[in-house]
Amino acid sequence: MTWLPAISSHAQRIDILLGGLLVVSLAVLGLVFGLMFLNVIRFRKGSRMQPGHEVTEHKNWRFEIGWTSVTLIVFFGLFVWAARLYVVGFQPPSDAIQIYVTGKQWMWKVQYPGGQREINALHVPAGRPVQLLMTSEDVIHDFSIPALRIKHDVLPGRYQSLWFTAITTGTFRFYCTQFCGIGHSRMTGMLMVLDRAAYADWLDHTPASGSLAAKGEVLFIRNGCSGCHVSSRYAPDATDNSRAPSMAGLYGSQVILADGSATRVDSAFLHDAIVNPPEWRRAGYTTQMPSFRSVLSEDEVAALVAYLQTLSPSIPSGRSPGVTAGQEGN
């Protein structure tokens, strides 16, 4: 049996946190078992110690306040330590490579911005941040990579994000860790961390039928999106954006929704707005966009999202515009 490797600096920090928790636990356990055995030996019936009925209530108070406050202080320290590390997961760097992961009973489908696809395998370059945009076609799954010490549930109908920067090359297992039916334990795969040259080589030699964004553009026209979301690209004379907003420059911008709230347009927003438009209607538009939930597969939604990103030239495509994780889809 080999010990679990920690292949990112985040993973190493988690191990230090676990070490801290272990030290606290061992200290408390030592105290509890130590006192228990000491008491049993000293105060066993028949030993010379006399039973002490005369312990008074006011003397107890000092002990009670003492151990309660020490417990509170130690717990608060642990809470803050762990919470600070957790927040990092909600802040993917803006230059992360975005890879689309779709779970279905019982396999993981992976799509790269360049159009490469694979199943139950994930290739990433070492030393570069990677953001996984994950969704499910059926039940709730969970994408877990123990060597990186991270996991996140993968829900149907919305995007969840997981990001990491692997620093060690090698092959590591990932698992589905949310019970998803009888084939659950077969829903595993391999994470391949390659050095930059090997990663570029892998991208070049993996067949791709056009980039994800190119596929998305075809879908954008074929499904009639371009009919309402008018842009000069397809109808040079049309400037009528009264029915639906233009998609140019949308990704990465700040928009106001019909309910008055402001939100930043990221991949999760684009995904959710396509499959569940009523929830994400923009302020100032009255036309109701139909849901494409049953029209498009998750793979196709991923292609559309990749395409829409390319319409914001200021932000390099396949990069994250900011915080994307942690948005509640409701």
Binding site: N60, L72, A147, T177, H184
Partner: protein, 549 residues
């Protein structure tokens, strides 16, 4: 001497006043209902254990030893549902709670004896429905019924199982209402709240959770059935529902339910530790109020089951902090039990061994809970075997130890017979050893990343899995032992005196087993609980007055 059935038990006792089957099935005597429950939950415990045994057998080989993926999924679903709803949730409240609440209060029966009997019939009906669903068709959703797996993607018998669990909720609520009203209304003259044994405080806190949390489970299960039958989108995103809503509602019940399972165990341990240290419990009011605060804060921590589920960052931070907070009252209890032992006169009879096992194993379970309340470490450890080990340390190491401790402690009172002490100690030691061998390796498996609910697993995890299965076989033997010697003691055990442990508490002031009416005369309470000074003085006087006995 040959004993006829009638001579096995004192004639005036509740056990033998009317021996017909009809009198047992229509009884409203809380003691008889407690025994009906005891037999029923023992059957369910055995059923759930068979599921556990098959799970551990399967996992000896990485590729799975005996079961198909499908059967394995059905087995751990069965194990979880049966153990949680048909054993752990009812366990102590319906057996010792039913038996002891009136005795400890100095009352003749619970406040609503007929409701009590009804709760047993509801429980049996719910158990039969659940077992029907699980064995005629099977279910593969896990005990958590997460949507949309349970509504759209399972071939299993969701409806009968959900209906069964729904029904068991009414049984829980009936028991809870009965205990709450009894404690408010039926205390003997002089029995103020602070003169109540800690067992009653714990059962009171538990009953409050029964009454407040169970309806939420009922509503959730109704919505689930509604979606399943009428295809109305509540939880299923394909129908316009929200899958996280189910998790919120489910854990809003199921986390407090964890305290339903553990609080009564803490009550039992408080009684046993005080008795076998022959010393008042240290910090009585702190232990009493810690039960109440666990019940209260326990309602505010459900979100810690969802740190990787896709809830917001802020929700996660608040739930993490509250989860640390809820563990403080538990820590207070542990320190007070240790304080009680200090300066006591400790006897290491079987109940005390179980209680000490509880303190140790519950502490391990509580401390590993900190790993899961901490946000960043939870992300790595949740949904792995670390979680499995953690809650088994609380539920089996803690709760089942307390249950067995209580069974040994009150067995003389319930049956009028002593169990064989040496066998009791051997079983307690064996359970402690077998338990640790079964579940400790699972902490390491979890850290290494082995996901829970896997029918097959990578080879690197085999060594620890084999160790765990070996422990489970020891545990199985250790659980059969008490079944054997308890049964033996019913016929051959020494007659139990009224107060075999020199314990305080009104239940020890009546005969063993008690008469149907509990007390010949309503007792009057003149001092606090655990008043060993008075007890010792009375015993000395009695010994001087009757020097020949």
């Amino acid at each position: 001497m040959t004993e006829t059935p009638a001579s096995l038990f004192p004639e005036r006792s509740y056990l033998w006043q009317d021996g017909t089957l009809r009198s047992w099935l229509l009884t409203t005597d809380h003691k008889r209902i407690a025994l009906l429950y005891l037999v029923t939950i023992t059957v369910f415990f055995a059923t759930g254990s068979i599921g556990a045994a098959l799970i551990r057998l399967q996992l000896i080989e990485p590729g799975g030893m005996i079961l198909s993926d499908e059967t394995y999924s059905r087995m751990f679903t069965m194990h979880g549902i049966v153990m949680v709803w048909l054993f752990l949730v009812p366990s102590i409240p319906v057996t010792f709670g039913n038996f002891l609440v009136p005795l400890m209060l100095g009352a003749r029966d619970l406040a609503f004896p007929r409701l009590n009997l009804l709760s047993w019939y509801l429980f049996v009906a719910s158990g039969l429905l659940v077992l029907y669903g699980l064995f005629r068709g099977g279910l593969e959703t896990g005990w958590t019924f997460y949507t949309p797996l349970s509504t759209d993607y399972t071939q299993g018998r969701v409806l009968p199982v959900v209906a069964g669990v729904f029904l068991s909720g009414f049984s829980s609520i009936a028991t809870g209402v009965n205990i709450i009203v009894s404690i408010h209304q039926l205390r003997a003259p002089g029995m103020t709240w602070y003169r109540m044994p800690l067992m009653l405080w714990a059962l009171y806190a538990t009953s409050v959770i029964f009454v407040l949390a169970t309806p939420v489970l009922s509503i959730t299960l109704l919505l689930l059935a509604f979606e399943h039958i009428f295809r109305v989108g509540v939880f299923d995103p394909a129908l316009g529902g929200d899958p996280l809503l189910f998790q919120h509602l489910f854990w809003f019940y199921s986390h407090p339910a964890v305290y339903i399972m553990i609080l009564p165990g803490m009550g039992v341990v408080s009684e046993i530790v005080s008795t076998f240290c022959h010393k008042p419990i240290f910090g009585y009011r702190f232990v009493a109020w810690s039960s109440i605060s666990i019940a209260a804060i326990g309602f505010l921590v459900w979100g810690h089951h969802m740190f990787v589920a896709g809830t917001s960052l802020y929700a996660a931070i608040v739930f993490s902090m509250l989860s640390f907070l809820v563990s403080v009252p538990s820590a207070i209890k542990v320190f007070n039990w240790l304080g009680t032992m200090h300066g006591g006169s400790i006897r290491l009879d079987a109940p005390m061994l179980y209680a000490m096992g509880f303190i140790g194993l519950f502490t391990v379970g509580g401390l590993t809970g900190l790993f899961l309340a901490s946000l960043a470490s939870d992300v790595h450890l949740t949904q792995t075997y670390f979680v499995v080990a953690h809650f088994h340390y609380i539920m089996v190491g803690g709760m089942v130890s307390a249950y067995f401790g209580g069974l040994h402690y009150w067995w003389p009172k319930i049956t009028g017979r002593m169990y064989p002490e040496m066998w009791g100690r051997i079983a307690a030691a064996l359970i402690f050893f077998g338990f640790n061998l079964t579940f400790f390796p699972q902490f390491i498996l979890g850290y290494e990343g082995m996901p829970r609910r896997y029918a097959t697993y990578p080879e690197q995890f085999q060594v620890l899995n084999v160790l765990s299965s070996a422990g489970a076989s020891i545990l199985a033997v250790a659980y059969v032992l008490p079944l054997v010697y308890f049964t033996w003691s019913l016929f051959k055990g020494a007659r139990a005196p009224g107060n075999p442990w020199a314990a305080t508490g009104l239940e020890w002031q009546t005969s063993s087993p008690p008469p149907t009416e509990n007390f010949a005369r309503t007792p009057e309470v003149t001092s606090g609980p655990y008043d060993y000074a008075t007890l010792d003085r009375l015993n000395r006087t009695a010994a001087e007055e009757a020097p020949h006995v």
